[in-house]
Amino acid sequence: MSSMKCLQSAIIAIAIVVTVLSETVTAQDVPPPSEKKITYSPYPEQTFPNRVYFGDTHLHTGYSTDAGMVGCILTPEDALRVSRGEEITSSHGLPVKLPRPLDFVVITDHAENLGLSPAIAESNADLLSNAWGKKIHDLVKLGTVDGQRMAFDMWVEAMMMDRKDPLKKFPEMGRTFWKRSTAAAEKYNEPGLFTAFIGFEWTSAPDGNNLHRNVIFRGGKDKADQIIPISAYDTDDPEKLWEWMADYERKTGGQLMAIAHNGNISNGLMFDDVTLTSKKPLDRDYAERRMRWEPLYEVTQIKGDGEAHPALSPNDEFADFETWDEATFGPVSTTPDMLPREYARSAYKRGLAYEQKLGVNPFKFGMIGSTDSHTGLPTTQEDSFFGKVSLLEPSADPIRFEEVIIGRTNPDPTKKIRAWRTSASGLAAVWSRENTREAIWDAMARKEVYATSGTRLKVRVFAGWDFEASDLDRSDFAEHGYDNGVPMGGDLSSAPRGKAPSFLVRAVKDPDGADLDRVQIIKGWLGADGETHEQIYDLAVSDGRRIGADGRCRKSVGNTVNAEEATYSNSIGDPYLEAFWQDPDFEANQRAFYYVRVIEIPTPRWTTFDAKVFGVELPEGAPVSIQERAYTSPIWYTPDN
C-alpha cells in the first residue's frame, strides 16, 4: 500500500520535471533591453530636492539568526513585498499590509551567520558539512522547544561568549544567503517607484553594549556579491569596520555608508572619548574617518529614542520620550556618567568641543529613524505595530507586553526593560529629487534627512545670513532657500559682521495623521568659557498660543486622547506651522549647531490600541498617549579662525 503511494508521488514528481524541461525550450527570443533614457523626476529646470521619501534603513528577516531562530520565517523577498505595499502573511500567520507603503527600504540582516535559520530549515549541505553546523541543525530538527532553545543558546554562546565564528572555515552558507539577499534587493528595486538597497548589519556588542552599524550599499549586486559582509566575529571595533569599507570601495569601485544606532544601550561607548580597542583619546584622524564613513545616526527606533535624555536636558519637557536608560544587553547597569556619551544632543555638543580641539568634529552626523524590526515587517504606526520580534506579534498573550528585552543578564532585577516599552518607531525621511538608490543614498550622504518616530510629517529648514520674515511668502520658497542658504545637514561659516544666522522653517502634518503642536529649534554651542550649552526655542506653536520673551511657550497643547476607544481628535493643533527665526544670542566666534524638532499633538500609544483591541490592561507605567515627532539633521555654524 505505502509503496504504491510512493510510486504515485514519484510519478507526480517526474511529471513536473518533464513539464519543466519542455517549457524551458520555449523561452528563447527575448528582445534586447531598451536603450531609452528614462528620467524619474519632473521639473528638469529645477535642481534642488523637492520631495520627501520615507523609508526604513534597518529591517530584519528570518535570515537574521536572532529573528529566524525565534520564530521569524519571513525572507528578504517577503519583507520587500510588504514594504512596497503588498499584503503578506506574518510569521504567526496573520495577514499584514502596511497602511501606506514605504518609498525605500534596506534589508539589514545580521552578518553573524547570515542565513543560519533558513539554512537549517532546508538542511543546507554546506551547513551540514561541519560538526557545529550539523549539531545546531539536528537540535532544531528535534522539533522540540528544548531543542530549539539549546540551538539558539549554542549560537548565542558562539556569538556573545566565544566571539569566534563557528562557521569560519565554512563560508559557503553565508555566501549563499548573502547572494540571495542581494538578489532579492535587485529584484524589487524599481527606480522611480520603490528603492530597495542592499545592506547588512554589523553587530558589534562588546560586553553586551550596543555598537551596531548598518552598512548601506549605493550600488548593486554586481559589486556587493564580490564580498561577504564583515561580521562582529571578524572585529567588534568600528575602526576596523571602516577599514573594511575602504577596502570594499577600492576593490569594487562601489560606495558604502554605515549608520550606528542605540547609543542609549551602549553604556557610554557609542560616543566615547576614547577609541574602543586602544583606548586612546580621539584624535583628528579618528574624527575624519568616523565622519567619512558614518554621516548618519539612527536616533529613534523600537529600542527607544536617543535624541535627548531628561537628566541631560532638565529644562526640556519633551526630552523624556520612549526612554530606555536602565541597562544594556550586558550585565552592567547604565550609570548617569555614561549618558552624555549615549545621546545625540550631548554628542553634538561634545562634538563642538572636539572640533575646537582637534580641528575636526567626530560627531557631526545627520539624524534618521528606522525600525530595527525583527519580524520582516516595518510597522511604525501605533495602530498597527507588530512588535520587535515574531514572538511578540499582535495577540492578547501577556508575552506581548511582558517579554524581557533588556536586562536578561543583569543581576539587578529592577533593570529589566519589557516589551511594552518597545517603541512603534521610526522612519528615515529623505529630501531628494528622485526615488532611486543613487539619489536617496546621496541625500543621506549629505545629511539632507530627518528622523521621525513613525509619522510622515514633513519639515524643511533653510539657514542663511540674509533671510527675512517675508521670505516665507515667496512662491519660490525652496529655490530661494537653496540659493541663499543651506538646508538641514548643511554648514554655515563666515558670519558677516553684525549678523546672526536666520532660519526659515516650514512643517506640515502627516496628511493621514495628527496635527502639529509646535516647531522648535534646539541650539547647542561652545561658550567662551569652554563649556557647552543648549537652549530650546519654540518657533511656532498651534492654536494661537503665545511664545514668551524667553522663547518658550509653556502652555501645553492639550490632549484629546480617549484611552478606552484609542482615539484622538485634530480639534487641537495646527495642520501647518511656519516660522522665520533669527538667533537672538548669536556670538560669531562660538561654534554652534541648530536642529529643528517638530512635535505632534498627543495620540494613543500602541499599547493603548492593544488594550482596546485585545481587551487587556494597559501595562503599569505605560503612557496612554505620546507626542510623535521629527528631528532634522542639524545645521552647524563654524567660525572662521
Binding site: 503511494k5 510512493c6 510510486l7 504515485q8 508521488s9 514519484a10 510519478i11 507526480i12 514528481a13 517526474i14 513536473i16 519543466v20 517549457e23 524551458t24 520555449t26 523561452a27 527570443d29 527575448v30 528582445p31 531598451s34 519632473p42 521639473y43 520631495r51 520615507f54 523577498e77 513585498r81 501606506r100 518609498d103 530549515a121 532546508e122 538542511s123 549541505a125 558539512s129 561541519n130 560538526a131 530538527k141 528535534l142 522539533g143 572555515k169 529584484k187 524589487y188 524599481e190 517607484l193 510622515r456 524643511r460 516665507l472 511668502d473 512662491s475 512643517a507 506640515v508 502634518k509 496628511p511 493621514d512 495623521g513 498651534s542 492654536d543 495646527d574 495642520p575 501647518y576 511656519e578
Partner: protein, 285 residues
C-alpha cells in the same frame, strides 16, 4: 537546480521509478538477492568527497574503509528500522520528509522559465498590478480649517465662484499657506497620495480638466483644484515591465505549485478530522 539534484528523496523517487521501468524490460538486477546492500563506486566517491569537505583532505584507505562499513551499517539499520515501522510515529522524520517534499515543490516552481506568451497573459489578467499611474498637471488653492473654522465650506465656495470658469486666472496668491506647491506638473497619482493623502488623490483623478473644482478634502483641510492636464492610467507593454511581470509571475507560480502539489496529493485521500468532544465542564466554570 543544484539543491534539487542533491536531494536524496528525489534520487529515491527517480530511482524508484527508474527501477520500476527497468525491471519490466531488462530485469538486470533480478539475480541479486532481495536484501543485498550494494555500495556503488559512485557512493564511495560521494562518501570520500563528504569526508574531504569536513577535513580538507581525502580519507586514507583505512578511513575510507571505515566510512564504507559505517554506511553499510546505516543502510541496514535504516531498512530494518523502516521495516519495523520506526518512522511512523516519529515527528522528526515525518517533518523532515514533509519539508523535503516542500523544497522539491518549491525548487521545481523556481526552475520554470516563463514564455513571452505566459508573461503577456499574466500582464493581461493582472492589469491592476502593473498599470502605469495616471499623471496629473494641476493647481490647487488651500483652505486651512484652523483659520476658517465653521465657515470653511462657505469660504471655499465663495472662492470657487470668484475663480469662476477662468482657467487662465492666476490663483497662486489665493488661499492659505501650507508646505505644498500651488502648481504640480506631471506628477503620478502615487506622488499625489504621498503629498496630499490617498483620499485626495482618488478624488482629483476623477475631476474634469479645465475648470476650478472643489472643495476637495485632504488631511490638511479643503482644496480647490484645477486639473490642467491628465494622462490617463494605461496598461504598459510587456517590454516596459518585463522584469516586474516576471517577478510577480514567479511569485504566484510558486504559491500555486505548492498548493497544487498538496491538492493533488490530498485528492488521493479521504480526510477525516475527529474533533474532540467540547469539554463542557471547563466551559461552564
Amino acid at each position: 537546480m543544484k539543491r534539487l539534484l542533491k536531494e536524496p528523496l528525489l534520487h529515491f523517487l527517480l530511482l524508484g521509478a527508474g527501477l520500476f521501468a527497468a525491471s519490466s524490460f531488462l530485469s538486470t538486477r533480478d539475480e541479486l538477492p532481495r536484501d543485498a546492500i550494494v555500495v556503488s563506486a559512485g557512493k564511495i566517491e560521494h562518501l570520500s568527497a563528504l569526508y574531504e569537505r569536513t577535513w580538507q583532505r581525502p580519507p586514507t584507505a583505512q578511513e575510507l574503509e571505515g566510512l564504507i562499513n559505517d554506511f553499510i551499517r546505516e543502510e541496514a539499520a535504516y531498512r530494518e528500522g523502516m521495516a519495523f515501522g520506526l518512522d511512523r510515529d516519529d515527528t522528526i522524520i515525518r517533518r523532515r520528509i514533509r519539508q523535503k517534499l516542500d523544497f522539491i515543490a518549491e525548487d521545481i516552481a523556481g526552475l520554470v522559465e516563463p514564455s513571452d506568451d505566459e508573461l503577456a497573459a499574466y500582464l493581461e489578467t493582472h492589469p491592476d498590478d502593473f498599470r502605469v499611474d495616471p499623471r496629473l498637471t494641476f493647481r490647487q488653492v488651500y483652505l486651512n480649517p484652523d483659520q476658517h473654522g465653521e465657515s470653511i465650506e462657505a469660504d471655499a465656495r465663495d472662492l470657487l465662484s470668484t475663480l469662476g470658469g477662468d482657467a487662465a486666472i492666476d490663483a497662486s496668491s489665493l488661499g492659505d499657506r501650507i508646505m505644498l506647491e500651488h502648481d504640480y506638473r506631471d506628477v503620478s497619482m502615487r506622488e499625489v497620495a504621498s503629498l496630499f493623502g490617498e483620499q485626495f488623490a482618488i478624488a482629483i483623478v476623477e475631476l474634469d480638466p479645465g475648470s476650478w473644482e472643489g472643495p476637495i478634502e485632504s488631511g490638511y483641510g479643503l482644496h480647490l483644484v484645477m486639473i490642467d492636464e491628465r494622462t490617463d492610467a494605461r496598461l504598459p507593454e510587456l517590454d516596459e515591465v518585463r522584469d516586474q511581470v516576471r517577478r510577480e509571475w514567479e511569485h504566484v507560480r510558486r504559491l500555486e505549485m505548492t498548493e497544487a502539489f498538496y491538492r493533488e496529493m490530498l485528492d488521493r485521500y479521504e480526510i477525516v478530522v475527529e474533533w474532540p468532544e467540547p469539554d463542557t465542564k471547563e466551559r461552564d466554570s
